[in-house]
Symmetry: C2
Subunit: 336 residues, 2 copies
């Protein structure tokens, strides 16, 4: 009986997976898996790519184990204005920690920050930025940091919109993640943000588990504290997962080349180059921020999320460029 049941399950599991894939292809006209996308070139390109790689008798068929898709986060899956949300987290942490650091009142970049002068604080360039990051991200155990991030992400509000930061995730992209997974893709984050800043909430918000998040990191150190093992976050950079380092991060964590990559800025250029240069059917997509009304409009001249070289290359390499204003019917879940 048990053996029969085992056999039955062995038969059923692959069947249901195949049926799901077939269903996704067949039913797109019936139940739209991307309802927040307007009909247009971008939506069509996505659908055509997926249809090609999942069809077992297609010359472009890709087995499930190789259906790897990588997504930038800042500006691709959620907003990044007026500055990266992780930097806003760091600013909130500086305020929260200030009572324990009376010396910050006269020490830059903290003195300016505590007076609300972010521009002044950042006059110190990369060194100032690094000091802010280390003061707020290092010096605690990994479990303590996870709790700090979780508390912040579930309560802190974006300065301009008054929304929780996780309310500022783009619904069309959340649907795209789910659509790819329903078609056998494994979805990964590959972002310049801190890996430990992203992991605590991404499974809940994007359906992406911690082991599928690639990001920047600081070094950690194993210690026994009164016999209890902890990992301590050190004031030392380990990896900055941006630009030419994105393919490096992909290779180190995933170990195989993705077949689809999604980004929004020049920081994603090499990730798209690496992904689309592989053999067989490939897909590259850039989100272009064109909607100043529902969100922000910026590209070639922006200091945050600059889209310039990657945009030019998208044209020559036939990558899909999403016009957020016209391609996205709904942007946020809270819209009426």
């Amino acid at each position: 009986m048990a053996k029969l049941l085992s056999l039955l399950i062995g038969l059923l599991l692959p069947l249901t997976i195949h049926a799901q894939a077939a269903l996704a292809a067949e039913s797109s006209a019936v139940v739209d898996p991307l309802p927040s996308w307007n009909e247009g070139a971008a939506k069509q390109a996505i659908g055509e790519f997926v249809a090609k790689v999942i069809k077992p008798d297609s010359p472009d068929f890709v087995p499930i184990s190789k259906r790897i898709a990588v997504f930038d986060n800042d500006g691709t899956l959620w907003g990044e204005q007026p500055m990266s949300f992780q930097f806003l987290f760091a600013l909130d942490r500086v305020k929260a920690l200030a009572p324990q650091h009376p010396e910050w009142k006269t020490k830059e970049p903290f003195a300016s920050l505590l007076q609300g002068d972010v521009k002044g604080a950042l006059l110190g360039g990369n060194r100032a930025m690094l000091e802010i990051v280390m003061a707020t991200h290092a010096g605690m155990t990994t479990e303590e940091f996870e709790k700090i991030v979780t508390d912040w992400i579930t309560t802190a509000r974006h300065p301009k919109t008054g929304r929780l930061y996780t309310e500022l995730v783009y619904q069309p992209m959340v649907q795209l993640l789910a659509y790819l997974r329903a078609n056998g893709f494994k979805t990964f984050i590959v972002d310049g943000g801190g890996i430990e800043f992203m992991r605590p909430w991404m499974e809940r918000v994007y359906g992406i588990p911690p082991e599928q998040v690639v990001g920047s990191s600081i070094k950690t150190k194993f210690e026994l504290r009164a016999g209890t093992p902890v990992l301590v976050r050190l004031r030392e950079l380990n990896f900055v997962d941006d630009k030419a380092a994105k393919p490096v991060g992909i290779h180190l964590h995933i170990g195989r080349r993705p077949i689809a990559a999604f980004g929004n800025s020049d920081g994603d250029l090499q990730m798209l180059q690496w992904t689309t240069a592989g053999s067989g059917e490939r897909f590259g997509l850039l989100v272009h921020h064109t909607d100043a009304e529902r969100e922000w409009a910026y590209d070639r001249k922006s200091s945050i999320g600059k889209l310039d070289k990657a945009w030019d290359e998208a044209k020559t390499k036939n990558w899909t460029v999403v016009d957020m204003k016209t391609d996205w019917k709904n942007m946020f879940a809270f819209e009426p």
Copy 2:
């Protein structure tokens, strides 16, 4: 119709997964999932742990997403004598590359190696070892290195046994990997070996995909060569995944604490400490090399795979210690 089918699949998939789990628990008396293990304390401890964490109404129940199991490779899943198989790979590479390096005839550690004197070559200590590793593992693209490893692992033979190295994987452990996965576990490698030396063959041999392999690494660099992106392997260490660094590697790649860890030496001590110190039901296991006839016998005094401190700690922390001679009915697939 499509909607109905979708609903049906949505209902069926979780059912089959639960049924699988229930089945694995119920049917162990009927179809033994670990046929190469003799009945005894080790096999019983494994079965009891799995039964506890998969039973939905058990106080020790662990949801599937948190069923993370980590395995050391050298000495735990395959042999490691007379020296680590990756070092034997490096020696083969030195021989293959020697014609391109006439200077090696008089340059240590290569001169000794080329005369078959490994001990002499290693008189240079860590520096000699590092030179051998870099000369054989760096200077090519990641794709070129993958091909070199794949060619070697499918043809090279172990000096003492004459077997392919992948024939020297322990059948009881391969069954254990499959048994855990059948019960909803995600299985990871966490080994001191090179991550890119392990990935090319582990999916085929262990059923573990590249993104679930954690190991030591050298740095890589993204480059465009005549417009084609490549990752070049540099002569610079990135991470040594051994001892106190194993929990660091686990945290960086997996991002959550495993609930079960499997090793064989003091190099795995901190991985077992980190894994078993978490809350809820935990499992730690050490493979003790006791069988000089079918394999090799070594422990406290061995220079390779030394099992000393971890063995002592296993006794106080109630970790399972496998006696390979008595606990394993079959060791290798080629045995009669």
